[in-house]
């Protein structure tokens, strides 16, 4: 049976401006998928730009895959990551520095 694991990486966290999630070590996993759920936002047009990142050491990072975005409250965006090596995180920013979003971010992993 394959191994799987779901991690709540951000829980009801309010994001403003630039951010990066905590490094998550996942070298055992063959596939990963991010779920970013915007629970609340400063306005219906508040846009959160996101990009998955990978790292060989948990310290130095580069982007992987396509940029993602989600706008307004009660919205979810999800995307897969494959062949990522060892560490995963998401970096992002609110498009306007005046905006904020409240998020629930899951990282789901499978061997």
């Amino acid at each position: 049976m394959r191994q799987s694991h779901a991690a709540v990486v951000e829980r009801y966290t309010v994001l403003r401006g630039d951010f990066a999630t905590e490094p998550h070590e996942a070298g055992w996993a063959g596939e990963a998928r991010w779920f970013v759920h915007v629970l609340d936002a400063s306005s219906p047009t508040a846009r959160l730009n996101l990009h998955g990142q990978i790292s060989p050491d948990g310290l130095n990072w580069c982007d992987i895959g396509e940029a993602q975005a989600v706008t307004g409250a009660d919205s979810v965006v999800s995307w897969p990551v494959r062949e990522f090596g060892q560490w995963l995180r998401v970096r992002g920013s609110t498009e306007s520095p005046d905006d904020w979003v409240k998020v629930l971010i899951y990282l789901t992993l499978k061997s």
């Binding site: 009801y12 310290l59 130095n60």
Partner: protein, 321 residues
């Protein structure tokens, strides 16, 4: 009817079976093994601790100091300088990590119940580390950083504390915690390298809801007032092994007695601490819905704006009932 000789023979046979098993021979279990965890096959029930929430699944109702204890990770102990270090039993260990925020705590918990009373023993092979420096984290600018003298590395003084603890509730609702914390540095980031215990029970979500406790995000959830901690035994130094990227595994064996609601003893490598006289304060009020609760948690707490990590290679929980 079993004679004394039969019992001796059975004990010798059991001991021989344990010694012949390369996975178990490094432990000293009590007669019944409740759980044996190595982390090649998942997290084995070790999960993030979180405070309680309301009936609407609204996580805004979770206490601020219990809402971000971080998900445990399956770690190959991989570092920037050597790549994969690996664990003691195989490639993977359970890693509990803090955020790089002074006062932040990472907590993983394992949830069981009791089918008897008596001795309970928690054994693990563990290690701990502060995060290595990088251009992004700039740990050399953070509290605790000092000069590298070729032996002691500055990161060692940026590791705060780790804790092994229980949450136990007798039938009828009498609830208590046995707790042992290794404090590597004090809140001023000076080495203390001592074992400490709290003299108050952990604040609970119910106490918050009743207006008795309101803690902030980085408050110490085990016992928030530093004045409520006492030392036991002599200071103990470990093999941090100079840099944040060398992993040496340490043996820990902690025994409690649930029939007496007391600690018994703590062995960490070559030191054994008698914990029989250490008080274990129960809650003044009883708790429902927790009959026979037997939880174990491990935590790591940083005293600097530097990530701290606690790694468990393996865990064995055994009982004499």
């Amino acid at each position: 009817m079993a004679t004394n000789n039969d019992r001796v023979a059975a004990d010798e046979f059991r001991r021989a079976a344990l010694l012949a098993n390369p996975e178990l021979s490094r432990f000293n279990p009590l007669p019944r093994i409740l759980a044996y965890d190595q982390f090649e096959t998942g997290t084995h029930g070790w999960t993030e601790l979180i405070g309680n929430h309301d009936g609407y699944s609204n996580l805004d109702t979770v206490d601020d100091h219990m809402r971000d204890f971080r998900p445990p990770q399956l770690s190959s102990c991989t570092f920037f300088d050597v790549g994969t270090h690996g664990a003691m039993s195989g490639n993977y260990a359970l890693k509990v990590a803090t955020r790089p925020i002074a006062g932040h705590t990472g907590v993983a918990i394992r949830r069981l119940t009791m089918s008897g009373r008596g001795l309970v023993q928690f054994e693990t092979y563990f290690t701990y580390k502060a995060e290595a420096g990088s251009a992004e984290n700039q740990v050399w600018e953070q509290a605790g950083a000092g000069e590298w003298d070729g032996n002691i590395h500055p990161s060692e003084q940026q590791f705060g504390a780790f804790t092994v603890a229980t949450d136990i509730c007798d039938p009828g609702g009498l609830r208590y915690h046995c707790v042992a914390r290794y404090q590597n540095t004090d809140l001023n980031n000076e080495f203390t390298r001592r074992w400490i215990y709290p003299v108050v029970p952990e604040p609970t979500p119910r106490e918050h809801l009743e207006g008795k406790a309101k803690l902030s995000y980085t408050d110490d959830f085990t016992a928030p007032d530093p004045a409520d901690w006492r030392t036991f035994g002599e200071p103990q130094a470990f093999c941090y092994n100079e840099v944040p990227t060398k992993v040496n595994w340490h043996y820990l064996r902690w025994q409690i007695d649930t029939s007496l609601r007391r600690n018994v003893e703590l062995q960490v490598n070559d030191q054994i601490f008698d914990m029989r006289d250490i008080p274990v304060p129960p809650y003044a009020e009883t708790y429902d819905s927790l009959d026979n609760l037997l939880n174990f948690y491990v935590s790591t707490r940083t005293h600097s704006n530097v990530r701290n990590f606690l790694y468990l290679d393996s865990v064995l929980i055994s009982v004499d009932w």
